[in-house]
């Protein structure tokens, strides 16, 4: 039988309990790289509204998971990705914003945190409407065999969210709420709270994208 000659994607394996060693060694208990990757996406020069994303990841019993690795990928304040495949040349690239970061949930509290800026809206697929401001999330950990992909939307972006082509296909509609981060003010800090539920009541929408 003749077969097409595509290669097959390498199989995923769990990141395991010691994922921190490779990806965020400081949390494992040591420093090794001159320039470690971190949960702070901004510098002084970065353009945009400073926000903190904070939350926890819960297992099927409702207990916070304290060994989760999260990565986020987002557009800049104008809504452009810092990547050559982004065709939105009418929007500026922010040279001081890569748009990517990683964090671990805290071994004691289970909280994760990112310091970033609020992204702008991004064009959707051709023929689709604009996508509401959102942050793409990927999580890996012990007990997670293949990394899980989801999105953070901003609960205060009511109109943009209502028109978002991705949120609109989530059925039943109440599951869209699992992707909404809640805006809070803490002193002068803007904090968006975003919890992830791996299983059970309020299970987060994960994407096969």
């Amino acid at each position: 039988m003749t077969q097409l000659t595509y290669l097959q994607e390498t199989a995923s394996q769990t990141a395991g309990p010691y994922v921190h060693i490779g990806l965020i060694p400081h949390q494992a208990g040591f420093d090794i790289f001159e320039k470690p990757f971190s949960n702070v996406l901004t510098t002084q020069e970065t353009v945009g509204e400073r926000i903190i994303i904070e939350g926890r990841v819960f297992d099927g019993t409702g207990a916070p998971c304290k060994d989760i690795l999260l990565e986020i990928w987002q557009a800049n304040a104008a809504g452009r990705y810092n990547h050559p495949a982004d065709p939105q040349t009418d929007k500026p690239i922010d040279p001081s914003f890569r748009g990517w970061g990683r964090a671990g949930t805290d071994f004691t509290t289970g909280l994760f945190r990112f310091d970033t800026i609020k992204p702008g809206p991004v064009i959707g697929r051709s023929g689709h409407r604009m996508m509401a401001p959102h942050i793409n999330v990927w999580i890996a950990a012990r007990g997670i065999n293949t990394g899980l992909q989801t999105r953070i939307y901003f609960a205060d972006e009511t109109d943009a969210n209502a028109a978002d082509p991705v949120l609109r296909i989530i059925d039943p509609p109440q599951r869209r709420d699992t992707l909404m981060a809640r805006r809070e003010m803490r002193a002068d800090l803007v904090v968006y709270v975003f919890d992830i539920r791996l299983q059970g009541d309020g299970e987060t929408v994960f994407f096969d994208a």
Binding site: Y6, Q8, S12, V19, N145, Q199, T204
Partner: protein
């Protein structure tokens, strides 16, 4: 016209471990039970972080030297090399490859690892590198040891190295583990056995590569990694490569 240039081939989930694998007990409470939402790629999935040589230090890919304090780490000196390819067989240049592992005794440098084998004062156990123009990577380390873990009463992990891969799109992100040819613990491993497809499991076992060994110095193993490929059309703009 495609409605999203650069979109990826749909992931073949039959080659991937399901979320719920009761033989690996930790997955039971951490596996989503609702169906994932199938999502055609948008700009958010086809783009991803771009890394450059400014991110990586000169010794980051040398686990024999990158944490050496009073001497070099104990263990079998080992070179691991291979290519990062996409499903069309093209090498992926500038992919970020991050690795981590236990030391030769099977102990991790991690505040939560309490296994009784000792920490090696000269071994950190992690490294990172970018692939070259043809998608090649290489790093040097000591071969990790096997170690027990709490799953069944007598569960052991075969020697393995963890790999995290970032290609050119966020939807290509992959974490996996590499095993060593001939390790008798491989067939007992409840983590490797989360993958239902025998050929997919086999592809995670690196082969001894005597041609890449350095005589009187290091053995070598070859491990190629395949990330998702992008759809090609006559309308496609060149994103990378020649």
């Amino acid at each position: 016209m495609p409605s999203q240039p650069f979109e990826f081939f749909q992931r073949d989930r039959t080659l991937q471990p399901p979320a719920l694998t009761p033989g690996y007990k930790t997955s039971v409470l951490r596996s989503p039970r609702l169906a994932m939402l199938s999502l055609q790629n948008s700009l958010s999935e086809v783009t991803g972080p771009v890394f450059g040589h400014g991110d990586i230090g000169a010794l980051d890919h040398d686990l024999i030297l990158n944490y050496a304090k009073t001497g070099e780490p104990i263990g079998e000196r080992t070179i691991v090399h291979g290519r990062v390819l996409d499903e069309t067989g093209r090498g992926i240049p500038n992919a970020l490859v991050e690795v981590w592992q236990a030391n030769a005794g099977g102990r991790y440098r991690h505040k939560n690892d309490t296994y009784l084998a000792p920490i090696d004062p000269n071994f950190g156990g992690c490294g990172r590198m970018l692939t070259d123009a043809e998608g090649r990577y290489v790093f040097r380390t000591v071969k990790p040891g096997a170690y027990p873990f709490r799953n069944q009463v007598n569960s052991w992990r075969p020697a393995h190295i963890h790999f995290a891969l970032s290609g050119h799109g966020f939807a290509q992100r992959l974490i996996t583990q590499m095993y060593f040819e001939g390790d008798p613990l491989i067939r007992h491993d409840s983590i490797l056995n989360t993958i239902p497809d025998a050929a997919a499991r086999e592809r995670l076992v690196a082969l001894l590569d005597m041609n890449a060994a350095v005589p009187l110095d290091s053995l070598a193993y070859r491990f190629d990694i395949v990330l998702r490929g992008r759809r090609q059309t006559v309308f496609e703009n060149k994103l990378y490569g020649n």
